[in-house]
Amino acid sequence: MNAFDWGAIWYAVPYMLQGAVVTLEISILAMVFGTVIGIVCGLVSVSRVGPLRWLVRVYVYFVRGTPALVQLFLVYFALPEIGIYVSAFWGGVIALSFNAGGFIAEIVRAAIGSIEPGQTEAALSIGMTDRQGLLLILLPQSLRQMAPPLTNELITLVKGSSLLSAISIAELTRSAQMIIAERFTPFEIYAALAVFYLIMISALARASEYVEKRLA
């Protein structure tokens, strides 16, 4: 067995930090967009707007039924086809948001669906419209239930951002691969890569624990 090459790690860390910054940027952007898409689509799927509900169903069906990597390639190569030219960075953000949005839509739908029907009836009984009942009563109440699965989804999203290495975005995984190609120390660098992800995801889990406590 070869000795663990600490030198490779000290060499890699600055590059990987740069990659980590890109991963964080992309993840945070995709979390924000994915959450917005997910909440809007989730609300649509519990609303009474038939055609839109159907569209959301198709969207969720697609996102759940295809690998994230396939979605990434599809979005990335489909965008130019429909006349949208964006950098790899933004293509990646769009693909990840698209993916997360579909899962978050399901989380929102399930959380709202689990709220006791008496809440909706009470909202209607004081003259609220369906939309008011949804936005003023059901959505706020479902936030607490949404928090744990949403955390999982955001963790999945950060991990999934490593797929963006496949479209040559210099995020964390890609930066590690480039160092391996240069230094031929795959074990050391992949170990360091795992530690980087662990740190980021632990921080995310901590943050969402804090938010969950605040919501409780």
């Binding site: 009474r48 809440q119 009984s125 004081i126 419209t129 009563i137 109440q141």
Partner: protein, 277 residues
């Protein structure tokens, strides 16, 4: 010129004409006709499964009737007649019409994420579009009327069942409904909390509010009700002034129901002859 009918007779506040609600193929409410005049306090009694809740829920259109008409304060709750045909209301119009009635549920159904104050204020604020300060003042007034001034900032889970139900009454009243619907307002309460809620409803009765109250509290029904409607199997079996009903229930099923409620002792039944069995 349209036939206005005899002008001396005021239109009833509530008219239910041939109301049916069919679940699957079971008529849970079966061709019910009922009129309630302003100021009346109608006690609806009857065994579990008689269709009492469903009837109330059809009146405020939380449930869509299968058949029949419901008019509240001269407003057709289903839609508008155009050229003799009923054009059903959009859901937003139904929501507006629903404000004519207020509803109090068996299980309170307070908004769990809001304080007592906000439970009451949210309707005036968001539905009636009142300024926040005015909605708050109105809510405080109604909570005070329900003797809840000490609890305005508490969440529903911090309140007893009796307090929660009184918040729910305040929430309904804050919308100034013309007709209040109570669906077994004390059935989910611990026995020692029933009194405070019945007392609150008595207060509303004294103030002249028109109410339909589904209840199993027979003494309360007798004392507060001006009329008793006895339902069984989706039908109104008896509909009489409260004193008459309790003195001489006409129908066997009503007698049997009262006997069961009183646990065998039914002192008011003698005038109708001894109950058979």
């Amino acid at each position: 010129m349209p036939d206005a009918g005899p002008a001396a007779v005021p239109a009833p506040l509530l008219r239910v004409l041939g109301l049916s609600k069919i679940f699957g193929d079971i008529p849970v409410v079966d061709r019910v006709t009922l009129e309630v005049a302003t100021g009346e306090i109608v006690m609806v009694i009857g065994p579990s499964g008689a269709g009492k809740s469903t009837m109330l829920r059809c009146i405020n259109r939380i449930e869509t009737p299968s058949e029949g008409e419901i008019w509240v304060a001269g407003v057709n709750m289903a839609g508008e007649l155009r050229d003799g045909r009923l054009v059903p209301d959009a859901r937003a119009v139904t929501a507006r019409k629903r404000r004519l009635t207020g509803m109090v549920f068996q299980r309170f159904n307070l908004f769990t994420h809001l304080s007592a104050l906000d439970n009451v204020a949210i309707g005036p604020r968001r539905v009636l579009g009142m300024p926040a300060a005015a909605a708050r003042a109105l809510a405080l007034e109604h909570l005070d009327r329900m003797k809840l001034s000490a609890h305005v900032d508490k969440r529903p889970i911090q309140l007893s069942g009796g307090q929660q139900q009184r918040v729910a009454i305040a929430r309904a009243l804050a919308m100034s409904p013309q007709l209040m619907l109570f669906d077994e307002p004390t059935s989910a309460l611990d026995p020692e909390l029933v009194g405070e809620v019945l007392e609150a409803i008595r207060g509303l009765a004294r103030d002249g509010l028109t109410m339909i109250v589904v209840t199993h509290e027979m003494q309360f029904a007798r004392e507060v009700g001006t009329r008793v409607v006895f339902m069984d199997g989706g039908r109104i079996v008896e509909d009489r002034p409260s004193a008459d009903f309790f003195a001489t229930p006409r129908h066997e099923r009503a007698r049997e129901f009262l006997r069961r409620i009183h646990g065998g002792a039914a002192p008011a039944l003698t005038a109708a002859g001894p109950p058979p069995g």
